[in-house]
C-alpha cells in the first residue's frame, strides 16, 4: 500500500503522486462488483424489512416461511458488514482520483463537476449507511436523526447514486473486467510502481477481510457460527436460552407485569373478555417453534407455548380483521402493533406463556407475549395487555 512521495505528504498531493499499480481500475472494478452485490442485497432486504414494519395494503406479507424475516434481516446485516472492508479498499483504490486535475474548457469542467457531485453523494451515503447500520446492529445510537426513516431514505440515495456511477463508468468497468487483473493496460499513467503485494494478493486479502468480518459477527444470527463469532453482538445466552432486546425494567413495566391485578383484555366492538394469567393457562395450549428475529440482525429460535390468538379472538366472536396488540408499556414506538388479519388467523400465531419449557421470563414478556411467524421482533409485542378488533 503506497501513497504520495515523502516530499508531498505535508502538501495536498496530486493524482500523479500516487504511484502504486494497486490503485487501478483492475482492482476497483473487481471489488466494485462485489460491493454492488452487497449493496443490492442490503437494499432489497431493507425494503422487505421496511414493508414488514410498516404493513401496507399494497404489499401484504406472507406468514410463511416462518423464518423469512430471520433470513432477510440476517442477510441485510451480513451484506452490510461484508461491504465495510470492500468499501474501504474500493475507496483506497480510487483515492488518487480525489486529487485529479480539472479538464480544460467550461463544458468539460461542468461535466466533471456533475460527475464528482454524484461521487460525493455516493461516497457520503455509502459511508453513512454502513457506519449507521453497523452501530445500530450493536444498539449504539450516537446521533440525533431518526435512524429507521433516515437509513431507509439514504438507502435509496446510495443505490440511486450507485446506478448513476455504474452508468458513467461502464466503459472503464468493461475494460477492467475483460482484461487480466495484472494487465499493464489497466495502470494509471503515473502508477507503474510495484511493491510486494500484487493486485491478485490485494484482492485475495480483501475477500478474506470481508469474509472474516462476516464470520466474526454473524454468530448472532447463524447458530453454527455462535462460538466463532468473537465480535457477535450477542453470544446467544439469555433466559430460557434466548437473548433479550429490551428489558422489562427499560420498558417500565415490571410492576404492571407482576401485578396480581393483571388482566388480558380481548375486545371486539362492545364485547369484552378479561382473562387472568390463570385463565390463559386454562385455555387450550399450543406449541410452535418460531424465531425471534430483530431488526438489528440477531435472531434465535425457540419453542413457544401459549394460546392461539385466533382462539382468543373467537371468545369475543371477532371477525377476520386486523388486530391491535397493545402492551403494558406506557410509551415507546412499539407499545402498540397491528397484527394483520391473515397473521391473526394463522394457527402458529400465539399469545405465548412459556418459552422452551420454562415460564416466560419477565424480560421475554411475562405474563404473555405475541409470537407470530415471519414477523420482525419489534412487532412481537411483549407484556400484552389488550387485543382489540374494531368492527
Amino acid at each position: 500500500m503506497n501513497g504520495p512521495g515523502r516530499s508531498s505528504i505535508a502538501r495536498i498531493p496530486r493524482e500523479e503522486h500516487f504511484t502504486s499499480r494497486l490503485r487501478s481500475p483492475a482492482v476497483s472494478a473487481r471489488i466494485g462488483v462485489w460491493l454492488g452485490i452487497c449493496f443490492l442485497v442490503a437494499f432489497v432486504t431493507g425494503l422487505v424489512s421496511h414493508v414488514t414494519q410498516s404493513p401496507s395494503p399494497w404489499f401484504p406479507l406472507p406468514t410463511r416461511p416462518s423464518w423469512g424475516y430471520r433470513v432477510t434481516q440476517g442477510l441485510h446485516v451480513v451484506s452490510g458488514t461484508a461491504a465495510i472492508p470492500l468499501l474501504l479498499v474500493k475507496l483506497w483504490s480510487v483515492f488518487p482520483k480525489l486529487f485529479a486535475r480539472l479538464p480544460q474548457g467550461r463544458r468539460n469542467q461542468a461535466l466533471v463537476a456533475v460527475e464528482r457531485g454524484t461521487i460525493a453523494v455516493l461516497v457520503a451515503a455509502s459511508v453513512f449507511q454502513v457506519a449507521s447500520g453497523l452501530a445500530n446492529s450493536a444498539q449504539w445510537y450516537p446521533w440525533d436523526f431518526r435512524f429507521r426513516a433516515t437509513h431507509f431514505a439514504l438507502g435509496w440515495v446510495a443505490v440511486g447514486a450507485l446506478l448513476v456511477h455504474v452508468a458513467v463508468k461502464l466503459p472503464v468497468i468493461r475494460q477492467a473486467l475483460t482484461h487480466g487483473v495484472d494487465d499493464p493496460a489497466l495502470d494509471r499513467a503515473s502508477a507503474t510502481g510495484s511493491s510486494g503485494l500484487t493486485r491478485r494478493g490485494l484482492l485475495h486479502s480483501t475477500w478474506v477481510a470481508a469474509g472474516a468480518a462476516v464470520v466474526l459477527s454473524a454468530g448472532s444470527t447463524v447458530p453454527l457460527l455462535r462460538r466463532v463469532s468473537v465480535f457477535g453482538v450477542r453470544s446467544g445466552e439469555g433466559p430460557a436460552g434466548i437473548p433479550i432486546n429490551k428489558s422489562a425494567a427499560a420498558a417500565g413495566v415490571v410492576a404492571a407485569a407482576l401485578s396480581p391485578a393483571y388482566r388480558l383484555v380481548v375486545r371486539f366492538g362492545g364485547r369484552t373478555v378479561e382473562l387472568t394469567r390463570k385463565d390463559l393457562e386454562a385455555l387450550p395450549q399450543t406449541s410452535a417453534d418460531l424465531p425471534i428475529a430483530c431488526v438489528e440482525g440477531w435472531s434465535a429460535s425457540g419453542t413457544w407455548t401459549g394460546v392461539r390468538v385466533s382462539d382468543l379472538l373467537a371468545l369475543v366472536d371477532a371477525v377476520d380483521q386486523d388486530v391491535q396488540v397493545v402492551s403494558l408499556q406506557q410509551d415507546g414506538a412499539f407499545r402498540q402493533a397491528t397484527l394483520p388479519a391473515h397473521f391473526a388467523r394463522d394457527p402458529l400465531t400465539l399469545l405465548a406463556l412459556r418459552l422452551n419449557g420454562a415460564e416466560l421470563a419477565i424480560d421475554h414478556g411475562y405474563p404473555a407475549r405475541l409470537i407470530a411467524p415471519n414477523r420482525p421482533g419489534v412487532l412481537q409485542t411483549k407484556w400484552v395487555a389488550r387485543l382489540e378488533v374494531t368492527p
Binding site: 503506497n2 452501530a135 503485494l197 486479502s205
Partner: protein, 148 residues
C-alpha cells in the same frame, strides 16, 4: 449508450426519491443527517486515508522486502475487520439492565484476531521464501517512491 442513459436516469429517479424521503423527515432531522454524511467523508478522506498511507510508509521503512506483501495483506485484514468491530469493542450500546447484550469478551476476541493475522502473515512469508516468489516482486523498480 441508450442503455447507459437509461441506467443513469433510473439512478436519478431512485436517488431523488431517497432525497424526497429524507427531506420529508424535517429540518432538524436533515441537519443531523448532513452532519453525519459530511462527517463520514471527512473522517475517511482526511483521517483514515492519510493514516493508511502513513502506516504503509512506516511498514515499508521498517520491514524487509520479503515481508512487505504478507504484512500489507495482514494489515488490510486486521485494519478493516477491526473497524467493523469498533461498536462492540467500545461496548457503546451496553445496558446495565440487559446482560444478554454485548456479552462477550471482545478484547480477547480482538487479540485472537491479531494472533491469527500474525500467524497467517508468518506462514505466508515463509511460503513465499520457500517458493522463491519474493524475488520476482522485489526486484522490480519502485519508481523512487516508498512502496507497499
Amino acid at each position: 449508450m441508450t442503455g447507459r442513459a437509461a441506467l443513469a436516469s433510473l439512478g436519478v429517479v431512485v436517488g431523488a426519491y431517497g432525497a424526497f424521503r429524507l427531506l420529508e423527515l424535517g429540518w432538524a432531522n436533515l441537519t443531523a443527517t448532513l452532519v453525519w454524511l459530511a462527517g463520514g467523508v471527512i473522517i475517511h478522506d482526511a483521517v483514515l486515508a492519510p493514516a493508511t498511507i502513513a502506516v504503509a510508509a512506516l511498514a515499508t521503512a521498517v520491514l524487509p522486502p520479503r515481508l512487505r506483501a504478507p504484512a500489507a495483506g495482514g494489515l488490510l485484514v486486521l485494519g478493516t475487520v477491526t473497524l467493523t468491530a469498533v461498536p462492540v469493542l467500545g461496548r457503546f450500546g451496553a445496558r446495565n439492565d440487559n446482560p444478554t447484550l454485548l456479552d462477550r469478551d471482545y478484547t480477547a476476541g480482538w487479540l485472537l484476531l491479531v494472533t491469527l493475522v500474525l500467524a497467517a502473515v508468518g506462514s505466508w512469508s515463509v511460503l513465499r521464501q520457500l517458493t522463491g516468489r519474493s524475488q520476482t516482486h522485489t526486484s522490480r523498480p519502485a519508481n523512487g517512491v516508498e512502496e507497499d
